[in-house]
């Protein structure tokens, strides 16, 4: 796999919510190699913002050579991206990271997405050959939910109880008595901690997609480490790089 750095053409951008945007970019070279669970580094045009913004791949259209990113505006960088229109170009680097594992088609998987951890689960739902159930946790406004429906059952939770189960993704899992051979999860750290415990208590194979602050995005600077149970082969200490060795890790492997 080679990483591509290019000024990708923006094809379209739509607001899914007031602060959540769906961005399609053209990149044959990235789309040809990318897989679910990997991410791209997006770079700002504004020179005072040097560091890449890591954004997960939400959807890959290999035939057309297109990639979709869904992100929340939280600061100046993501606001800059949100101002992009069709025809603009955004500097990107990718595909980065390892991506989700393949799962045997006789098995079943629970795809758990919390908040802005939902987008990468969409491409996982599209790619995985196994039986899958998506559980999506929202604060108070839904996005992307219908797009999961073609790939299996979908359950939702909302923090305020305005739809689905009141609470978080695990509350929805419990309320609906859901189980599976494998859990894949992406979301805020407290959610991932709870999912890790939940899976461990039931002996379910579990993979977590982690976030950390990044500087290089390619494994060179050691900014983005996550503590590991065992000494890692590359670092020779109890640290692995989220950008290069992750972002997806076996739950038992990492200390959250």
């Amino acid at each position: 796999m080679t990483k591509i750095r290019e000024d990708a053409l923006v094809l379209r951008q739509d607001a899914l919510l007031e602060d959540v945007f769906s961005l399609w970019i053209q990149s044959e070279a990235i789309a040809a190699q990318a897989r679910a669970g990997q991410f791209l580094s997006l770079y700002c045009r504004e020179g005072s913002r040097l560091l890449p913004r890591p954004i997960s791949i939400c959807q890959i259209d290999r035939e057309r050579g297109q990639i979709r990113l869904v992100y929340r505006t939280v600061g100046a960088g993501t606001r800059e991206f949100a101002a992009c229109r069709a025809g603009d170009r955004i500097p990107v680097l990718g595909p980065l990271g390892n991506g989700f594992p393949e799962i045997d088609k006789d098995k079943s998987a629970l795809l758990l997405g919390g908040g802005i951890g939902i987008p990468p689960m969409l491409e996982a739902a599209r790619e995985l050959a196994c039986r899958k159930t998506a559980v999506l946790g929202y604060r108070d406004q839904m996005f992307l939910k219908e797009e999961f429906e073609p790939f299996g059952p979908v359950y939702v939770s909302s923090e305020d109880g305005s739809f689905g189960t009141r609470g978080n993704v695990l509350d929805a899992v419990r309320e609906n008595g859901l189980t599976a051979d494998v859990i894949l999860a992406c979301g805020p750290r407290p959610m991932l901690k709870a999912v890790k415990e939940y899976a461990a208590a039931r002996g379910i194979e579990c993979w977590l997609s982690l976030e950390e602050r990044m500087a290089c995005g390619v494994g060179a600077c050691l900014a983005c480490v996550c503590q590991t149970k065992d000494v890692d082969g590359h670092s020779n200490v109890h640290n692995r790089r989220v950008c290069k060795d992750g972002p997806v890790f076996r739950a038992e492997e990492v200390e959250l």
Partner: protein
């Protein structure tokens, strides 16, 4: 057109190298460029034993720059010698090994371990806390700078570059101390100590509270310090701090640097170091400069 420069008897094909800690041992960036186009690769700091580094968050973006408190995480000299040096040897570039330590003995151990290794130069990072002197960085006390330089020189097979900390009142005092200790060359600047507070979470942006500021924001400080050091010592200087392209690099050469390092810029553009090589050549063509050495220290 000649772009070759000489640092302590080692000839570099051009004056551009990578800044320690921003380029690993080159493996990750070898996907983006032929490392053989660089004058040298400077590796991440390596100690006698593995260091786990600091807790996260280890970095924060700041206006035109960034803070880092990686905490010198490294796999230790054994793994480094077994894995990283053979990797770099595949490329037609010079290898500069950056060394860190908590005591003089730590540094000496690493330097001795490198004696029979195909490393071309050693760069000694003295912005490390000196545990025996209560944690003040070696690089903030001229006596300590001279002493550690002398000690490292006594044990080193390769020429020694002392990498100076900019967190001092007068850089020329430190530059002269390193020269007096027998340094073959100087590198400057390392990062400037800074802090960022997250006003929304009302906490420090870095787990370590403070971190080192790098990137374009520090370039004028770095150019000033390179200029001052170049006036104060005879040994060659490797200049760094915010270099993003050939024009920035030329500024350091004119201020008195014999070579330059590209650091934080690689995070914004993984090809930055290679593009800096081409940028210097473009500048030379534009102004009809035959030999890059004509630029070194040309502005006084």
């Amino acid at each position: 057109m000649n772009t070759r420069v000489n640092i302590a008897g080692v000839e570099l094909k051009n004056p551009v190298m990578t800044a320690s800690g921003t380029f690993g041992s080159g493996e990750e960036y070898s996907e983006f460029m032929d490392l053989g186009c660089l004058g040298a690769v400077v590796t991440k700091g390596v100690a006698n034993v593995p260091w786990p580094g600091n807790p996260v968050p280890r970095i924060a973006e700041t206006y035109g720059g960034m803070l880092n408190a990686i905490g010198l995480q490294n796999p230790g000299i054994d793994v480094f010698v077994r894995r990283d040096i053979p990797f770099l040897r595949q490329f037609d570039t010079k290898i500069i090994v950056n060394v860190c330590g908590r005591t003089t003995e730590d540094y000496v151990e690493v330097v001795e371990r490198l004696a029979d290794q195909p490393a071309d130069l050693l760069e000694i990072n003295i912005s490390c806390p000196n545990v025996k002197e209560g944690g003040i960085a070696f690089g903030q006390d001229p006596k300590a700078v001279e002493a550690i330089t002398r000690e490292v020189k006594r044990h080193a097979r390769q020429p020694v570059i002392m990498k100076l900390s900019p967190n001092v009142t007068d850089i020329t005092v430190m530059a002269k101390a390193a020269e007096a200790g027998g340094a073959d060359a100087l590198s400057l600047i390392n990062t400037l100590t800074g802090m960022k507070i997250d006003i929304h979470r009302r906490t420090f942006a870095l787990a370590n509270k403070t971190g080192g500021l790098s990137g374009p924001a520090i370039k004028p400080v770095a150019v000033r310090m390179v200029y001052q050091a170049a006036q104060a010592v005879r040994i060659p200087i490797i200049g760094m701090g915010g270099i993003q392209n050939g024009e920035d690099a030329v500024e350091f050469l004119l201020a008195g640097a014999t070579a330059v390092s590209v650091g934080t810029a690689s995070f914004h553009n993984p090809m930055a170091a290679a593009e800096t090589v081409r940028g210097i050549e473009d500048y030379m063509r534009t102004y009809g400069i035959e030999d890059v050495n004509q630029l070194i220290g040309a502005v006084r």
